[in-house]
């Protein structure tokens, strides 16, 4: 039994006396005594720390806002720093499951981290909600204990590809991304949807991880009418700057990491005009979102983006599932089934539900970045929603069987065709 009094636990404990829970669930006679244990696998050191820190902020905001209770049960929260390495992720997952005996795991951050614990969470029947994009974990190699309320890697990019072809009228695209699975799946998704609607991808550029200067790739961008980038973390900042520096005028489109609202305060004028398709947008005027933004601004003084919102929504889902399972997780299969059946109408990202493979079916927002001196929250740039796509599944508009018959998006799939 862990005897630690970490900062997080202290905060969580003191938050019990804080603001009343906004969601009042009727709580029939349940085991009120035993606390509900939530574990978070995140990255707080190294290059991935940017998203990881925001993930934790999302969870802490939720807990504080809900008086540290889920479905009437007190929450014991364990936060673990995996260091961004799969071996560390495995170790920390073991810590959470075997030492801390958590009932549910939130995170991890990266797709390769999630793959490292894929078998483990299935073996130990620990429901895991992550925003890691790895497509196949809800497609061709589904894990029954994995739930993804945010988006799989290609989901938002399907929307972007369609929008670029249909609404923006673009015909020739060049994609540029990091040379890893998340990059392949994003750009593959973009290409599939873009080409379905009459466009054609002329070049797919993949850069090594950790490249400081993208000029060798920017120099190869020509003969197109739109450029799609999908860089993760803080990379979009320097890519956009370098892109603008060379006077390239092709409009940029991107997915949820390239257009993350959390980067708005770091971007300069070079981001103006970028179109992005995201599962979360700051300018969504629903109660759920406004409440969330207000809370996180109050607690952490940061404007949230995809990562913080994603984890906040994960908490919403866990609570709804817990309530539906009668407040107890003794029957793991029942709890997992309850989680999968969750259907929420007012999360910060709008209404969501899940398909039978555990991936979200929800709204996706296409926004354009504009310059606004009067933008909310002290920002100088703002992502303005121009179109909302409702009930987008991970298969876009293809029938599930047809989609799954194709191989997973990779460096060579979909193949480039003659334009």
């Amino acid at each position: 039994m862990s005897r630690k009094m970490t900062r997080r636990k202290f905060m969580a404990a003191t938050a019990a006396g804080a603001a009343a829970a906004t969601f009042k669930f009727p709580t029939p006679g349940i085991a009120q005594g035993a606390p509900f244990k939530v574990g978070l696998l995140t990255v707080k050191t190294g290059g991935l720390a940017q998203g990881g820190i925001q993930m934790e902020q999302g969870v802490l905001t939720w807990l504080k806002e809900h008086g540290n209770k889920m479905a009437g049960r007190k929450v014991e929260f364990f936060s673990a720093d995996t260091g961004g390495k799969p071996a560390g992720t495995k170790t920390k997952a073991q810590e959470l499951v075997e030492r801390d005996k958590v009932d549910v795991i939130l995170g991890p951050l990266a797709a390769f981290e999630l793959l490292a614990i894929d078998d483990y969470i299935e073996q130990h029947k620990t429901p895991t909600l992550s925003l890691a994009g790895a497509d196949d974990l809800t497609q061709r190699r589904p894990n029954p204990y994995f739930l993804r309320p945010s988006a799989c890697s290609s989901q938002a990019m399907h929307v972007m590809g369609h929008y670029a072809a249909k609404e923006m009228g673009k015909k020739r695209a060049i994609t540029v991304d990091w040379d890893f699975a998340f990059g392949y799946e994003q750009e593959g998704g973009f290409q599939a949807a873009f080409e379905k609607d009459g466009g054609c991808v002329t070049k797919k550029l993949y850069t090594p991880l950790g490249t400081p200067d993208y000029t060798p790739y920017i120099a190869q961008i020509s003969g197109c009418d739109v450029v799609c980038q999908g860089f993760p973390g803080g990379v979009p900042l320097r890519f956009l700057k370098q892109y603008a520096n060379f006077g390239l005028k092709f409009p940029l489109v991107t997915g949820e990491t390239g257009g993350d609202d959390a980067l708005l305060h770091s971007f300069g004028d070079e981001a103006v005009g970028q179109t992005s398709a995201c599962p979360y947008t700051l300018d969504l005027k629903t109660d759920g979102n406004q409440r969330f933004i207000k809370a996180i601004l109050k607690d952490f003084k940061v404007v949230p983006g995809f990562y913080a919102a994603g984890l906040y929504v994960n908490c919403d889902v866990v609570e709804a599932g817990l309530k539906a399972a009668g407040g107890t997780t003794d029957n793991k299969e029942k709890f997992m089934a309850a989680l999968k059946a969750v259907d929420l109408k007012d999360t910060p990202r709008g209404p969501i539900k899940f398909d039978h493979l555990g991936n979200v079916v929800g709204d996706f927002y296409v926004r354009v970045c504009e310059k606004r001196s009067d933008a909310p929250y002290g920002l100088k740039l703002w992502n303005k929603t121009v179109k909302t796509y409702k009930d987008v599944s991970q298969f876009w508009t293809w029938p599930e069987k047809e989609f799954l018959a194709h191989p997973v998006y990779s460096r060579d799939y979909p193949p480039l065709k003659k334009c």
């Binding site: 630690k4 799969p86 495995k90 170790t91 810590e95 793959l115 490292a116 078998d119 790895a134 699975a181």
Partner: protein, 328 residues
């Protein structure tokens, strides 16, 4: 019975009875990790500590053995064949690695090994058909040596312990052998060794091969433990980490790498749960070691211990003299 033998005996007993006094499965697992990391560190120590050749690419070799195991298992081969392939493949890679790196010594050796390590890392990322790229290779299940299941924390720990003890004994024998002495000779006085007729290159090469064997074993245990291998396990920070384990613990000593491995793993896996800035703490510990015990934790502690004894002894004899002086 010298203090040293007693200490070693106590340590041995503690290791063997560990699952009974460790507070929980999680810590038993951490101990298993420490043990195979210690094998890795012992392997590097052969080269760095006893041979004076610091390799900043050792994680690459570790990775090759791990990937070989993963690849064979993924394609349906049995565990014995997979392990054998990994050992042979690891040692063959080490042979190539040694031939290339031994063209230089000192900083040149460090740079060549760094370059080789980075190249192997790049291959792990790009040779997707074999390595799966950054999606890595997922393993299902562990081997059953002599039909024994090693899927639980305890059984895996004991298996690792047995391998560790054999490896440790092998290193101890090596160090006290003529080859080991020759290796240390080439570290201290390469030219003189040459003049005396020793084939310096061959000595170093065979030391590399032994190091490669230990590294391959550690890689195999690693992949069975985490049941997953991806390029992150063999990048530059992984190579730097094992070098740090060896230096912090005490290069050129038997127990140093083990202590170093324990230090790094404990801070990374256990202390990181309590202290958010554990990276900074680890760096501070390294700096402190350099200031207080630049030769490493194990030799440094031994030195301070002897100093304390000597001071106590000197004080005691001064007391005795005084008493004798006043007595007479």
């Amino acid at each position: 019975m010298s203090a040293r033998v007693i200490a070693l005996a106590v340590g041995f007993v503690a290791l063997v009875t560990l699952p009974y006094w460790m507070p929980g499965i999680y810590y038993i697992n951490v101990s298993s990790q420490i043990l195979f990391s210690a094998i890795f560190a012992l392997g590097l120590n052969i080269l760095a500590g006893y041979g004076g050749l610091v390799s900043l690419g050792h994680a690459g070799l570790f990775g090759i053995a791990a990937y070989a195991t993963g690849y064979m298992l993924q394609h349906g081969f049995g565990h014995p064949i997979a392990i054998l392939t990994a050992l042979v493949g690891g040692m063959a890679s080490m042979a190539v690695y040694a031939v290339l790196s031994l063209r230089a010594t000192g900083i040149g050796f460090i740079m060549i090994t760094l370059a080789l390590g980075e190249i192997i890392w790049g291959l792990a990322y790009r040779w997707i058909s074999i390595t799966g790229g950054d999606n890595g290779i997922n393993l299902h299940g562990r081997p059953q040596p002599f039909g024994i299941e090693i899927n639980t924390a305890n059984s895996f720990y004991y298996t690792t312990l047995v391998v560790f003890l054999v490896a440790f004994a092998a290193v101890a024998v090596f160090v006290r052998s003529p080859l080991g002495a020759a290796l240390m000779g080439t570290r201290d006085q390469a030219r003189r060794m040459n003049a005396l007729g020793y084939h310096v290159w061959a000595i170093r090469f065979w030391a590399c091969m032994f190091s490669g064997l230990l590294t391959a074993i550690a890689g195999i245990l690693f992949v069975y433990y985490t049941q997953f291998i991806s390029p992150q396990a063999l990048d530059l920070t992984a190579s730097a980490e094992v070098v740090l384990m060896v230096i912090a613990g005490g290069a050129g000593t038997l127990l140093g790498p083990i202590v170093g491995a324990a230090l790094v793993i404990v801070v990374k896996s256990v202390v990181s749960g309590f202290i958010e800035r554990w990276n900074m703490l680890l760096g501070a510990i390294f700096v402190a070691i350099v200031i207080l015990m630049p030769e490493g934790l194990v030799p440094g502690t031994a030195r301070l211990w002897r100093l304390a004894w000597r001071k106590a002894g000197a004080q005691a004899s001064r007391e005795a003299e005084r008493k004798a002086g006043t007595g007479s």
